[in-house]
Symmetry: C2
Subunit: 491 residues, 2 copies
């Protein structure tokens, strides 16, 4: 008969000691399959324990598959099935995961690995990280957010922890609609689907509109992770060159007529990576192009809120009288990227279909985070935060532009963004130098984002995206000085 040894001085609860003792005895063969265990009542008396302790231990042993038990009968040791352990894992796997993956998934995997490798490379003397595009965590209003979270949890915690609306938390959709109206977009809450960040919003649009083999017109360069996502959908990207005033509309018009893309993807404000913002006239012409060809236009307004220089240009969606534009937005580039709250606003029949896809792909989003974010907006904390960070980022961007003017050798060229976090810099020479320059900059303690990550087909020139989101003014200036040295020696 089994009498497990109990250590009453141990911090391990007694029921766990009993459980582990039995597990050990079964695993090492001391207890054989079919052997009876003493009834809990009897064993409790023997060991001087409360019976509930034994009941709990037996229950766990049963759950782990070590015991058979039937009401009113003895518990017996169970023949454990052939459980696979790491040691028994066959070296020859039955499935070759690279071979079974779809070509699209393989291609997305490669792109993500390339992006991750660029992010990972170690910086020996880290001075300034000008590669990340995420709001500066030191400016994050987490105290305010925590109060919002606490308030909504106290008011309706139970509801917020249950399944939510696949379209998103109602009051948040209202808050987003209000925000969009302030940018000239006349949209109703029911035309908005809340998503897991802007990325999932783009994904939904692609799921609705593209088939493998379709063509999608994108800016060249454009947002790197959008390229990964487009590859995952198996589409081929028509890269339309970016001019200083935005994507080349003549080329776009010709490509539309020649290649019939099913979608045009554009980032008209503070474009990622170039920082370029297009004019009102450019927007009107682009919209007209898509409208007349009846091609959906996916407008990525990921930094809509980050204008802090010059004149305000309204989103393309604000002029969409013919229901052509799908508009993507996000809170991630202003506050709390970790909450993963983005959205897509689209003409009603399109929004309905996006919603159905959202329900099929993920049932719903995180209602709790959405409710707290809604409260954050309703209390005016979002607008207050925007005002606060605008002045910080404006100064940083001015510092960067000033630093570049002071330290760049002749031939180096860059954009002058009207807001947002990033600008785009071209170094004379060839594209092959880009990787070498990137490494030399790292050795100087400066991390930029290599330009090749933003092209479907990298050009024959070295580019870098420079972001002011995570570095202070002093670091930015010093980084410019060092970039100047590296680029001057490169020629």
């Amino acid at each position: 008969v089994l009498i497990p040894k109990i250590d009453r001085t141990s911090p391990v609860p007694i029921y766990k000691q009993i459980r582990d003792a039995v597990v050990g005895m079964v695993d090492d063969g001391t207890l054989a399959a079919g052997e009876r265990l003493p009834p809990t009542r009897l064993l409790a008396r023997t060991l001087g324990l409360h019976r509930s302790t034994l009941v709990r231990a037996y229950a766990e042993l049963w759950a782990l598959g070590y015991l058979e038990s039937r009401p009113g009968s003895y518990s017996t040791v169970r023949r454990r099935p052939r459980v696979m352990t790491r040691g028994r894992l066959r070296s020859r796997a039955a499935v070759d995961w690279d071979a079974v993956a779809t070509p699209a998934a393989r291609s997305a995997h490669e792109t993500v690995q390339r992006l991750a490798a660029a992010r990972r490379s170690s910086t020996p003397a880290k001075l300034a990280d000008l590669s990340e595009l995420a709001p500066d965590a030191t400016l994050s209003p987490d105290g305010d957010f925590r109060r919002c979270l606490r308030a909504v949890l106290e008011e309706e915690g139970r509801r917020l922890l249950g399944y939510g609306d696949p379209a998103g938390f109602g009051p948040l959709r209202e808050a987003i609609a209000r925000r969009l109206r302030s940018h000239g977009i006349d949209v109703l809450a029911r035309e908005i689907v809340v998503t897991n960040g802007a990325q999932q919003a783009i994904d939904l649009a692609l799921r609705l509109l593209v088939r493998p083999g379709d063509r999608v017109a994108v800016e060249a360069p454009t947002y790197g992770t959008a390229l990964a996502l487009l590859r995952l959908h198996g589409v081929s990207c028509l890269g339309i060159p970016m001019r200083p005033d935005g994507l080349d509309l003549d080329v776009l018009a010709a490509e539309i007529d020649r290649q019939r893309p099913v979608l045009v993807y554009t980032i008209p404000s503070f474009q990622n990576p170039t920082g370029i913002t297009t004019s009102q006239a450019h927007r009107e012409r682009l919209l007209d192009l898509c409208r007349s060809r009846r091609i959906p236009l996916l407008e990525d307004g990921f930094e809509e809120e980050m204008k802090y220089f010059g004149k305000a240009v309204l989103p393309i969606k604000s002029m969409d009288a013919h229901g052509v534009v799908l508009y993507v937005g996000t809170f991630s580039k202003v506050v709390f990227p970790g909450l993963r709250i983005g959205w897509i606003a689209a003409p009603q029949p399109c929004a309905e279909r996006l919603l159905a896809l959202q329900a099929a792909c993920s049932i719903a989003g995180n209602t709790l985070a959405q409710a707290a974010m809604a409260r954050f907006c309703e209390l005016g904390l979002y607008e207050a935060h925007l005002r606060r960070v605008h002045s910080v980022y404006r100064r940083r961007m001015q510092t960067l532009l000033h630093g570049l003017r002071a330290h760049m050798p002749p031939g180096v060229a860059w954009t002058e963004p009207a807001g947002g976090y990033t600008l785009w810099l071209r170094v004379p020479g060839t594209g092959r130098d880009e990787q070498a320059l990137y490494r030399r900059l790292l050795n100087e303690g400066v991390r930029l984002s290599p330009g090749s990550l933003y092209f479907a087909i990298p050009p024959n020139q070295a580019h870098f995206r420079i972001s002011v989101s995570s570095a202070g003014e002093r670091e930015i200036l010093e980084a410019c000085r060092r970039m100047g040295r590296v680029f001057a020696n490169a020629r």
Copy 2:
């Protein structure tokens, strides 16, 4: 010169009053494009206000596109672009969203609409909702969760609100790995990708493995929203009939050899919708089938934790010595479905690729919710909750089985689940009656889930899924009585 009227007794902040007054005057033409606004300093003096109030009002007017302003110069009224308003929306849209949607998206849209319609139908005399499959909100340990959330926010709020790891929050992956080990699955944290619920886990697996036109073997019946997702991926479903002991392995073997599916999708425990749990021997044979044919097996363990009767059967993944099984799990069917935390565990090379897809599709999940959930597990609150709810649901299931035995007319047949929330009931007669029976049950105040939602090709017989997740024992018994009346009259 403009002098807006200010109401100092109004609850509307004064800067907003000024902003709205100017907006009104521009919109109705009182102020024309190009007109100068008085300098803020001057207007502040005139109105007897602090200058900062005027600065703020002008800044908002600028952001809204109503003003041009240049440092050191006058602000002038701006010619607003042709902003689209609801009133100006053309009735003839330029894009026909149904026509441009992919056939797969259209089909998913239809499935979701069918599921939603079934959920929506109104219950005149609502007695018991036995259609939902979600943990009973009245048993939700939200107090405990709030404490966990508060603790992690206080300890590392800033980090948790920033971009997280695409694979999921580290300590949560550890907690999940521990939990899986308790079910016999020997898995490392790095073989787990945390997802936006089990649904997104299935989606990732499909994104990795299937191309439009591929075939996937599924149980018939199976989880309805998985069917919607499979349709969205453009695959054709091979429905393998469910027998009382699980999917028919002879049919599966024949279909594999004849149709070469790229994936087998199974729910071996408390299958949705039937409630059937397969035996150890069945699992071994299924695994062997997939291993020998080198076909990935997607095991959906969505209710792994909900066994509360009979003997414990270990997951198929626990025997996976050849790296064939992708295992999906979730917290949603035990606690907090609104947090949307699921996961997928897979052999290392497969997990790596799933992770890349996760990064491409959604960058990362909600780190804050994941951290709070990790704490909930670490403190033993998860296991405590499981113990508490098992006894509740066990009693409810026993009540349902008792009620069916007492009240069903001859010919009605049902499964006897060993756990979980649902069982499956067949009513003699033809499938065409299902909708009529469903309506008659609703009139009696009982909502079941119509069986046709769970088939790719609905059979010629009426079925219902009955869930005990959201109804108490008294309601369940009364519902059985009424079902008995409806089914007896139906013949």
